[in-house]
Subunit: 489 residues, 2 copies
């Protein structure tokens, strides 16, 4: 774990201002450290010990810290050992190179340049999926999904995603023709970056981020990383002419950070002190970004201060106008710029396409056309170029297949968890209006964070909310907030 | 090397803003990585290989890259193996704890609290010195010196230091009573930290620091660290009411950084791509800080810009007044705040005292009295407390014995190298006045940086300047600059 977090620290540094010349050497360093971690994780003696221990804990409470530790470490080890070293090495080389090629291809808007790399990556990931799924009832794509969302099935995802897509496509269309529309231009004024920086620090602290156990920095692609049991780094970015970028980026990453800070640090590096799945991680970031951060109550508490911070830009903007503007819904080309309603449509397209790529029912050559056709049918827009279309995301070039669906799983879980918390705690919005975010955070720590990997993601949702994950809460939340805002009945 | 620079990166991070909660875990991480490095460096097979190679290169040009690589790696290995593991471990524990105890003792101005720790450290370092010097003609103190300044002898140092001390004590006394004195208060105004930050970046770049292969950050105790062949980090600090701190701290650390950037990166991590000694490293930082940065020509080029940067503070300050103020000479208690003339007196005191501690001719119990007596005789002041006296430096608590003299060796070498460069290149000051620092930097790269450890420090000085290191250049430089400034004949 210490080696792994050392490598994570080197990567954090790489993304917060490492000199450009440092890249090659840093890549070698990180790869060496990761290799050492891999060696330790696949050590034969370690595997033997785990296999013996797994018999020892059979019959014990499966959710106890001890059972979970043995079960989950065994699961990780079992996955690792199923991949032959040459495949791991080839995948690592292909994805390092893949990201460079993707970056160049995107810049020159030339998908053909990226195509051979992607074909290679898809074939390597397919092989990994086949090896992982061998002898189980999982498909190769599901086995890839397991990497990020251990117990999700394609059938279940397709069902829930359908339940999301149909009402959202309808709602988004209604919003497009709605009688009232927000004035987005108020967010596009010249906002002082230094003021944004201070404000971000302030709201991160306000919702509960502990700066004695973490820090907030700047980077080009925001993220959150855990460098030690009491050292959680969140990273955001600021745009002068688009103030939501910094504010909601910070709330989002703070949500990730709160999850990491909410785990039991004495279990650091072991399953009871680790996040359960990427979907659950994303549910925490989305909950603070959207359910909290885009609520009227949040801004009613902060708006006077916000106006003072960004004077004179917001002098003539009312709280209602501001709140409406940060809830703008508008189909757009780029996933990372999408609002919370259309975002899920971006994800569902990627989920469908990457599954077909792994299944072999879609070729990489046909991918750009399939992409554009889905954007037209689902979002009503066709990308003018591959750079703004199929080449926009780094994920596939980095070998992250099965990763995208976790974003929408996170959105679904955030809404469902928020509803359950409200049932138990009462009027959360009234608390936000007082600047009181502690009850909500404590509820999340109690029902999600502190359990680490003692329960699976779906067990945790069931336990915390009393029902399995479904589309209901998210659809209900978006309808409930957006219809009145846009003057829809 | 990759493990070592990984540990260095973790330490850089620790000193540039790691959350306070991260300390314990980080210490474990770094210690684990350093332990792994030590294991690799003392591996038996590695030693056997080196011993075989050293026979292979016998008879070859001793300054070739290959010869130097084998010779210097063998030297390092030979030193490492002479220390038994328990001694290394005990020293490491004693110095980690020693620094904590020192810090507490300094804060409470209580030398007695630190005394047992220091006695233990001195005895451990004496043992190391004895083991290293066994069977050689070096004394134990010289063997400790070898760690930082591989070929310095006490006799030679004493001679040169005497040659420095006598004229400097006299010059400093004359300056004290000189007819004209600088107005230091112009540097103690309220200088905007953000302006200082930008200005530091500017001057670092101006003298040649390559920001594609390095960066400049802030910390509480400035330093320079090399995290990869093209990733050199310099760190400075800014004080609102003392603008020289940021300016000369930056120039100093940039000097270190230029040395690191001037080495051949294809030899990174091996002797031909490593610095030859701490004294030589310090000569580079001092040369840019003092010979360049405190010259009138440097400021004549920059002063208009400086005034604009720090308006209105410097509006009514002339170039000559500013230049005189940054060349203030004034005996003071604290080494790190000392000017370039009195600085050497601070060092010579420490050199004499630490040598006596190792030789056993001075006991730790008698150290504070010896310290105060030397400050009175050499600098004419007696520290009012041990906190501002014998407890002011971290070095001894960290086991750094033999380190202090390298500071003055650096000052001596900086003056001698500068003179040699001027002989070869012509009027350097005329170049500075044009903002042209490239010829000087290229000369240093050619004569110092690129040789790495292919020559010893004294060989390099002889080769670059045509004579052995002496006090002449430094004394001449200080007399030549300071006498006219202070109106002394």
């Amino acid at each position: 774990m210490k080696l792994q977090t050392a490598a994570d620290t080197l990567e954090w540094d790489e993304r917060t201002g490492m000199p450009s010349g440092g890249g090659d050497y840093r890549a070698e360093q990180v790869s060496m450290l990761r290799g050492m971690v891999h060696e330790l994780r696949t050590d034969a003696q370690y595997g033997d010990d785990l296999c013996r221990l797994i018999d020892d804990v059979a019959g014990q409470d499966p959710h106890s810290d001890e059972s979970a530790t043995v079960r989950e470490l065994h699961r990780d080890w079992d996955r690792d050992r199923k991949l032959p070293t040459p495949l791991v090495r080839k995948t690592s080389e292909a994805t390092v190179k893949g990201q460079q090629v993707w970056d160049a291809a995107r810049k020159s808007n030339d998908f053909a340049k990226f195509r051979p790399s992607l074909e290679n990556i898809i074939s390597l990931k397919r092989e990994a999926g086949e090896r992982w799924s061998e002898g189980s009832d999982r498909t190769p794509y599901e086995a890839l999904l397991d990497e990020y969302e251990p117990d999700a099935s394609v059938e279940q995802l397709q069902k829930i995603f359908d339940d999301v897509r149909v009402p959202l496509v309808k709602l988004i269309a209604e919003i497009k023709d709605a009688p009232v529309q927000p004035n987005v231009s108020i967010l596009e004024q010249d906002f002082c970056v230094d003021a944004q920086r201070k404000f971000s620090h302030r709201i991160s602290k306000l919702i509960g981020f502990d700066f004695d156990r973490g820090r907030l920095d700047e980077t080009s692609h925001p993220f959150c990383t855990t460098l030690g049991p009491k050292d959680i780094r969140i990273l955001t970015r600021f745009e002068t002419n688009w103030v939501p970028s910094g504010i909601f980026g910070t709330l989002h990453e703070t949500g990730h950070g709160l999850y990491e800070q909410g785990m039991r640090y004495e279990w650091f590096g072991l399953p009871p002190g680790s996040y359960v799945s990427l979907g659950m991680h994303e549910s925490q970031s989305r909950l603070w970004e959207n359910q909290v951060g885009r609520s009227r109550a949040f801004w009613s508490h902060l708006y006077e201060e916000t106006q003072a911070t960004f004077a004179p830009q917001l002098d003539n903007v009312t709280l209602d106008e501001f709140h409406f503007a940060v809830n703008t819904i508008r189909p757009s080309l780029i996933r990372v710029e999408a609002d919370e309603a259309t975002y899920n449509l971006h994800i569902i397209i990627r989920f469908d396409l990457e599954r077909q790529l792994i299944e072999g029912t879609l070729s990489v050559a046909d991918l750009p056309a399939a992409w554009n056709s889905r954007y037209q049918s689902d979002l009503g827009i066709t990308p003018p170029s591959d750079a703004d279309g199929v080449l926009q995301d780094v994920h596939w070039s980095a070998g992250l297949i099965g990763y995208f669906p976790t974003y929408t799983l996170g959105n679904l879980a955030s809404a469902q968890l928020y509803d359950a918390a409200a049932v138990e705690l009462g009027d959360l919005e009234a608390m936000f209006a007082q600047g009181n975010f502690k009850p909500l955070l404590e509820w999340l720590v109690e029902h999600v964070h502190r359990h680490g990997r003692c329960y699976s993601g779906s067990e945790l949702i069931q336990k915390a909310t009393g029902k399995p994950l479904s589309a209901d809460a998210l659809v209900g939340y978006l309808q409930g907030k957006l219809r009145p805002l846009y003057g829809l009945s």
